[in-house]
């Protein structure tokens, strides 16, 4: 089952294109990181999946073919929007009661226990909580609905490192306990590296890279060697991004079976998610090659330029 599937998805706001011909398929059972520069369409994609907005063209389905915003999609998807909107004048208890009234399932006991554990006073107004506490409250409300898919839009933007860590710990615990699929957009690459096992990189309203993190990283290497030789050597390789630091050059390259041995003076390192993402963010025109074993969805995830 694909938790989100988009086919030629277009969203325009007036003359602004938020998504252009965006096609992707995010399989269930992953924590998917949705990354991309500002204005690349992350929030728009999540809004469309949550059923808050309608596509201008193309189609998007959720939870294996359901229309976003349909009763069953609303029932199975919990969305925590950017800046975690809560009713500021309602107390935490009221927010719990409100959410339980608005949903078919709501595990109030576990939500209350979770908030108590986090030291969030139940009587306090939501608007008087700290940024981290508000984010935790919004997340707790979302998880208590026992969703099959959790959508998080920039959930960590306003959090300090400790709160970020706690927030992601909660997400991961829910993932482990309930098998909820998670799609989160974020700028905090370091945090994503710890949790994400699926990556969707958006650029200018299109999917630039999509795939399982392990798989994507395995097909890239970071080569370090003398800067003077970098250009000549690059010609033989599929370079995503090249950078220089003093006399050293760093090349993030796609790994091919046909690549020869490293020239002397060059070293090869595995790539981390953060480096990988940064390299592709810096090169909006670069596309990741479709690798083996990416399943039937691979075609959808490819970029057509």
């Amino acid at each position: 089952m694909n938790v989100i599937e988009a086919d030629g998805l277009v969203k325009r706001y007036g003359s602004t294109w938020a998504l252009r011909e965006c096609s992707l398929a995010i399989p269930a059972g992953h924590v998917t990181a949705l990354v991309g520069p500002n204005g690349s369409g992350k929030t728009t994609l999540l809004s469309l999946a949550a059923g808050l907005a309608a596509p201008s063209a193309g189609a998007v389905t959720v939870l294996g073919g359901r229309t976003p915003g349909s009763p069953i999609a609303l029932d199975g998807i919990a969305f925590v929007a950017q800046d975690t909107p809560l009713y500021k004048n309602l107390s935490v208890v009221d927010m719990l009661h409100l959410t339980s009234n608005l949903n078919r399932r709501f595990d109030k006991a576990s939500a209350q226990a979770r908030l108590t554990e986090l030291g969030i006073p139940l009587k306090r107004k939501a608007g008087k909580l700290s940024g981290g506490q508000q984010a935790q409250l919004a997340l707790t409300l979302a998880l208590a609905r026992r969703p099959r898919l959790l959508l998080l839009d920039e959930p960590m933007a306003m959090l300090d490192p400790l709160a970020r860590h706690d927030f992601m710990a909660t997400v991961m615990a829910a993932m482990a306990d309930d098998g909820v699929s998670v799609v989160l957009s974020s700028h905090v690459l370091a945090e994503l590296e710890r949790v994400a096992d699926y990556l969707v990189l958006l650029s200018q309203g299109r999917v630039q890279v999509a795939g399982e993190v392990e798989d994507l990283l395995a097909r890239h290497r970071l080569l370090t060697g003398p800067a003077a030789e970098a250009e000549r050597y690059s010609e033989r390789l599929s370079v995503v991004h090249a950078s220089r630091g003093g006399s050293q050059a760093h090349l993030l390259v796609r790994q091919n079976a046909t690549d020869g041995p490293l020239p002397p003076g060059w070293e090869s390192h595995p790539v981390g998610l953060e480096e990988f993402t940064l390299a592709y963010l810096r090169e909006p025109d670069a596309a990741a090659p479709p690798g083996p074993g990416r399943g039937p969805d691979a075609e959808l995830s490819e970029v057509t330029t």
């Binding site: 059972g29 294996g64 915003g69 029932d75 929007a81 909107p85 309602l90 409100l98």
Partner: protein
């Protein structure tokens, strides 16, 4: 890592078994989110009601004494009625009516726009409309609950007002169809409140911000009330025609006058005759009787010159038919506005 084992049942089976959440779930939600406005409404109407009750008892007492006067045609008794009428004219009869004219607009403007505009303004629609209840059902439930509460409160208040105002109708000084009083008595008050609320809800959705939507609601309501009172209401039923002399000022809403001589219309006017006309036909002045007013006196002068003054009018006995006509179309307009609001929300504003 895979959850393919937890594959859902075939789509159509699962969808069919998903009953919508019961409407009553929204009762607490609506109350909790709008209780400040609802309590404010209760305080406003409650304190006005206390005032009307206290003042009304005095008025009823004074009126009872005046009409209880024995030998009703005696000078003393006529004076007693006149004294009643003049004592309570401005502060009890006119000013409260004027203030209460604003009540439907205020209820509508403070209760209606926040329903959607506050959510859109604060971004909380992204919370509310992604919950299991569903966006259009959420909108419909809120609007209907609040509309019902507002209209019910308004109707209760209007009943009290009808009682309060009764002596002023009974003393024959006010036509119950008069523009400044017609919509405060009977049932239309509740429906004017309803339409003000529906305008507010719709404005909130269109404008996305509470304060501008509130202002727009007040302006729209005022415009509508003015147009209806001045132009529309008199056309609800075909007016009757009678000789002006035979009309009682208090029982007919005169919508036009015209004078004839020899079977031909000579001139016509609405409202009061101009000073020109009075000077021309009544050089020695007009006798204004309480029963027929200035126009009645003018009709007498005219008849001395061989003219007949006619009037098209709505009789006071049409109060209830007019009430039902006005309530009917106000209800239809409110339903239309609420339906349009829900439809627009369903179509997605994002």
């Amino acid at each position: 890592m895979t959850t393919l084992a937890a594959l859902p049942a075939p789509v159509h089976l699962e969808d069919a078994s998903l009953q919508p959440l019961p409407w009553r779930r929204m009762a607490w939600v609506t109350w909790r989110q709008h209780r400040v406005a609802l309590v404010g409404l209760a305080v406003l109407l409650g304190s006005a009601a206390v005032y009307l009750w206290l003042q009304g008892r005095q008025i009823h007492h004074a009126y009872g004494t005046a009409v209880g006067c024995h030998a009703a045609t005696s000078g003393a008794c006529v004076n007693a009625i006149n004294y009643f009428t003049s004592t309570y004219n401005l502060t009890a009869r006119k000013i409260p009516a004027l203030l209460i004219q604003t009540v439907p607009a205020l209820i509508g403007a403070f209760l209606g726009p926040p329903v959607l505009a506050r959510e859109l303004e604060n971004g909380t629609f992204r919370y509310a409309w992604t919950q299991g209840f569903g966006r259009w059902r959420w909108t419909l439930a809120k609007l209907v609950f609040l509309a019902f509460l507002a209209a019910t409160a308004a109707e209760l208040f209007s009943l009290l007002w009808s009682w309060y105002y009764q002596p002023f109708i009974a003393d024959g000084q006010t036509n119950p169809l008069a523009a400044f009083i017609f919509n405060l008595r009977g049932v239309t008050f509740a429906f004017w409140t309803l339409v003000a609320f529906a305008i507010g809800g719709f404005a909130g959705l269109l404008i996305h911000r509470v304060v501008p939507a509130l202002v727009a609601t007040l302006a729209t309501y005022a415009g509508l009330a003015l147009v209806v009172g001045v132009f529309l209401r008199q056309h609800y039923l075909t007016p009757l025609i009678a000789r002006q002399q035979n009309l009682l000022a208090s029982s007919a809403w005169v919508t036009g006058n015209w004078a004839t001589k020899g079977g031909r219309t000579v001139f016509s006017f609405t409202g009061a005759p101009t000073n020109n006309m009075l000077g021309l036909f009544c050089p020695s002045g007009v006798t204004v009787k309480p029963s027929s007013g200035l126009v009645g006196g003018f009709a007498q002068c005219l008849s001395q010159h061989g003219y007949t003054l006619w009037a098209s009018y709505q009789p006071a006995s049409r109060f209830w038919p007019f009430q039902w006509i006005e309530s009917g179309w106000l209800l239809a307009l409110s339903a239309l506005l609420i339906a349009a609001t829900v439809w627009l929300v369903r179509r997605r504003v994002g």
